[in-house]
C-alpha cells in the first residue's frame, strides 16, 4: 500500500530461522487471488507454520505467541529466497509489518518489499544476533528504524547501525511515490532509446 515512510519505533517479532523462503511466507495455494487484497494475504502469512495440518493454531509459532507483537519482523539471513511472488510482500504488509530486519535478503523479494512500502533493513550478523538476544530476554525490546537518517537502533542495548538504501528509493518511500509514476513521466526517453537502438 502506498504510504509515507518516516521513522518507525516498535517492538519486534523474532523469527530466528535462516533461508526463510517465499513458499513459507505465503504457500502457492494462496496465490490464486486476482486482486491485491493485502488483508487476505496477511491472514495467510506463514500459513503452514501458523496452523497445524488440521487447521488448529500452532501455539509454538511466534506469530501465535502473545509475548511478541509489533511492526518489525526480525528474521535470520537470506530472508525471502525462492519464488518471485510479490504475494509474499503483500502478506507481510497485510499482516501489519512495515519493516523487516535481517542480515541478508534475497534480491527479488527485497525489491518486492520496497515496491510495497515495506522497508528491508540489512544489518550486520552481530547486530542481528544481539537483537535476537535482546528480544529473547525482553519481548518488549524497542527498535527504532529511522529512514531519513538511515539508522537502526536497538533500544535495549543502545546499539546503532546505518543501513543502505539508494537515494531515489528513499525519496519514493518518504513521499509515497512508486516506480510506475516515474516511468510514465519518462516515456519520451524510452521512445528516444528505441529509435537509437533500431539505428
Amino acid at each position: 500500500m502506498k504510504q509515507k515512510f518516516d521513522i518507525i519505533t516498535s517492538t519486534c517479532v523474532p523469527l530466528p530461522l535462516e533461508n526463510v523462503d517465499t513458499d513459507q511466507i505465503i504457500p502457492a495455494r494462496f496465490l490464486k487471488a486476482t486482486t491485491r487484497e493485502e488483508s487476505f494475504f496477511g491472514e495467510n502469512l506463514f500459513r503452514d507454520w501458523r496452523y497445524n495440518p488440521d487447521g488448529s493454531i500452532n501455539e509454538g509459532f511466534v506469530l501465535n505467541n502473545p509475548r511478541y507483537s509489533g511492526e518489525i519482523l526480525v528474521a535470520g539471513k537470506n530472508f525471502g529466497s525462492g519464488s518471485s511472488r510479490e504475494h509474499a510482500a503483500w502478506a507481510i504488509a497485510g499482516y501489519g509489518f512495515r519493516v523487516v530486519i535481517s542480515s541478508f535478503f534475497a534480491d527479488i523479494h527485497k525489491n518486492n518489499e520496497l515496491n510495497n512500502f515495506v522497508l528491508p533493513v540489512v544489518v550486520s550478523e552481530t547486530f542481528l544476533a544481539n537483537l535476537f538476544d535482546s528480544i529473547d530476554k525482553d519481548p518488549k525490546t524497542i527498535v527504532e528504524v529511522d529512514l531519513p537518517n538511515q539508522k537502526v537502533t536497538n533500544k535495549a542495548t543502545g546499539e546503532s547501525e546505518t543501513f543502505e538504501i539508494n537515494g531515489y528509493k528513499k525519496y519514493c518511500l518518504m513521499n509515497a511515490l512508486d516506480d510506475i509514476d516515474f516511468l510514465l513521466e519518462n516515456q519520451e526517453k524510452t521512445e528516444a532509446w528505441e529509435v537509437a537502438a533500431k539505428a
Partner: protein, 464 residues
C-alpha cells in the same frame, strides 16, 4: 570495464541512469502467466493506461492448468477464474495469448525458447523467478515481482540496480549419467542458496560448452536457486542451430543480420568479473537433495552431513529441515523407499528429459509402490514424445504421459503430493510444502528420477 557479456547486454539496454538510484532498463520481452499478472493488469486499469509496447508481450497460463482433460473446463473454480482472467486481460490489452489447448501452450520457460521467442542479446523478464532459464539463449533474463510486471506493461522498462557479475567455469568432462541438473545441484551445494545473491552468473568452461541447448536451459533455470538473479551462457553454434527455423526466429536477411550480431555476444578475453569460480566436472556425480532448500544436496553415494559440521547460526534451520524430511544426520539416501516420482517442470520438462527417463524405463517396469507423474513442459514436447514413440516405451513400462503445465512442481493444480509422502522430483524446489502441504521432496535429475521409479527406492542410475 564493460567487457563482460553481461555488461554488453545490460548496458546496451539502459535508457537512463536515475540520479542517486537504479537504472531504467529497456525490456525486449515480457512473459505473463496467470498467477503473478492479474494485479498488474488491475493496476493498469486503475491508472487508465494501455500497454506501451503490446507486441513485445506474450501471455500463457501454466501454473494452474490441470494435466488431464484440458479440453474440459477447469474443475477448481478459483484456478479457472485465474486462467480466464489472463485470457481476458490479454484480449483487453491486445497481447498475444497462448491459452490452454492452444498447440503453443506450455510452461512459459519451455515455450519461450522452443518457439524462438527468447533470443540472444535480449532482455527478458517475467513475474517468475525461473525466468533465468532463458539465459541459456545468451540473453539477460530474470524474474520480477508483480509491481515490476506492471512497470513493463506500462512502459516496457523497469527500474533496476545493476547486479554484479560472476563467472562460473566448469572445466573437464562430465561423467556417465551426470547431467546439467546434477551440475546445478552440485553448484548450489557449494554456493548455498544465497551464494550468488546480488550477481548475474555467466556459465563457461568445457563442460558447459559441451551441454546441449536443453541442458543449458536446465542449468540456467536453476541460477535463482543459488540466489543469482539470472544466469546465462554466451551464444554459440549450438545456440544458433537450436534457434534456426523456429516459429518466431528471424528468417532470411534478418537471420543473417541477427547471426552477425549474436556472434559478437561473448565476454572479452580481458573481461573482469566481480567474482570468478572454477569447478571440475569430474568431481560431480548424480546429485540428490536431503533437506528443504535446494542447497542441501549431496552426491547420491554420499551421506547427509553431521550436525557438528553445520555453523551455529544455521543449526536450528538444519534440524527443522531434517525433522520435516524424516531424515537423520549422517544417513545415506540410497535405498530410501520412494512414494512419488515427478518428471517435468521448467527445469526438466523438455524432450531430452523424457528421452533420458525413457532410456532407463525401457524394458523395465514401474515399481508398484511408486506413483509417477510424467508431465511434458509444453504441447510441442508432448507431440515430440509421441513422434518418437517414447509414449509407447513408457506405457509398456507402466507409465502414462500427462498434459503439459507446471503441475506438481508447485502443486497449484490438482497434482499435489500427499502429506508425508516422499517424492523424487525433477523440479527446482524442495521447500516445505512446495509439492503439497506436508509433501517431502528430493530433487534429482530425470535419470535419478527414472531409477527411483523403476526400483521403488533412491538408486544410483549408474548401477542399472
Amino acid at each position: 570495464m564493460a567487457n563482460t557479456l553481461f555488461d554488453k547486454i545490460w548496458d546496451s539496454h539502459v535508457v537512463q541512469h536515475v540520479e542517486d538510484g537504479p537504472e531504467q532498463l529497456y525490456i525486449d520481452r515480457l512473459y505473463c502467466h496467470e498467477v503473478t499478472s492479474p494485479q498488474a493488469f488491475e493496476g493498469m486499469r486503475k491508472r487508465g493506461i494501455k500497454c506501451f509496447r503490446p507486441g513485445n508481450i506474450f501471455c500463457m497460463p501454466d501454473h494452474n492448468t490441470p494435466t488431464h482433460d484440458q479440453d474440459k473446463p477447469i474443475g477448481d473454480p478459483v484456478s479457472k477464474t485465474q486462467v480466464d482472467t489472463l485470457a481476458r486481460n490479454a484480449e483487453e490489452f491486445g497481447l498475444a495469448h497462448f491459452g490452454m489447448m492452444n498447440p503453443k501452450n506450455g510452461i512459459i520457460h519451455v515455450v519461450g525458447p522452443e518457439r524462438g521467442l527468447s533470443l540472444p542479446g535480449m532482455t527478458i523478464v517475467c513475474g517468475d523467478s525461473h525466468t533465468s532459464t532463458h539465459g541459456a539463449m545468451g540473453a539477460v533474463a530474470f524474474g520480477i515481482g508483480t509491481s515490476e510486471v506492471e512497470m513493463v506493461l506500462a512502459s516496457q522498462c523497469i527500474l533496476q540496480q545493476k547486479p554484479k557479475s560472476m563467472r562460473i567455469n566448469i572445466e573437464g568432462k562430465l561423467g556417465k549419467d551426470v547431467t546439467a541438473k546434477d551440475v546445478a545441484l552440485y553448484l548450489m551445494s557449494k554456493l548455498t542458496t544465497s551464494g550468488a545473491t546480488g550477481y548475474f552468473v555467466e556459465y563457461a568452461g568445457e563442460a558447459v560448452r559441451n551441454l546441449s541447448m536443453e541442458g543449458r536451459l536446465t542449468l540456467c533455470n536453476l541460477s535463482i536457486e543459488m540466489g543469482a538473479r539470472g544466469g546465462f551462457i554466451a551464444p554459440d553454434e549450438v545456440t544458433f542451430e537450436y534457434i534456426k527455423g523456429r516459429e518466431y526466429a528471424p528468417e532470411g536477411e534478418a537471420w543473417d543480420k541477427a547471426i552477425k550480431y549474436w556472434e559478437t555476444l561473448k565476454s572479452g578475453d580481458d573481461a573482469v568479473f566481480d567474482k570468478e569460480l572454477t569447478f571440475r566436472a569430474e568431481d560431480i556425480e548424480p546429485f540428490v537433495t536431503y533437506g528443504t532448500n535446494p542447497g542441501m544436496g549431496i552426491g547420491i553415494t554420499q551421506s547427509i552431513p553431521e550436525l557438528d559440521s553445520i555453523p551455529e547460526a544455521g543449526k536450528a534451520s538444519f534440524i527443522k529441515s531434517l525433522d520435516y524430511m524424516g531424515f537423520k544426520p549422517g544417513q545415506k539416501l540410497l535405498g530410501t523407499p520412494v512414494d512419488y516420482v515427478f518428471l517435468g517442470a521448467c527445469t526438466n520438462g523438455r524432450i531430452e528429459d523424457f528421452r533420458a527417463f525413457a532410456s532407463i524405463a525401457k524394458g523395465r517396469r514401474k515399481a508398484d509402490n511408486v506413483t509417477a507423474w510424467l508431465v511434458p513442459g509444453s504441447w510441442m514436447v508432448y507431440d515430440q514424445i509421441k513422434k518418437e514413440g517414447l509414449d509407447q516405451v513408457l506405457e509398456e513400462a507402466g507409465f502414462e504421459i500427462r498434459q503439459p503445465g507446471c503441475s506438481a512442481c508447485l502443486a497449484m493444480n490438482d497434482d499435489k503430493i500427499p502429506a508425508g509422502k516422499l517424492s523424487v522430483s525433477t523440479s527446482n524446489r524442495n521447500f516445505e510444502g512446495r509439492q503439497g502441504p506436508g509433501a517431502r521432496t528430493v530433487l534429482a535429475s530425470p535419470l535419478v528420477a527414472a531409477a527411483a521409479a523403476v526400483t521403488g527406492v533412491i538408486t544410483d542410475p549408474r548401477t542399472l
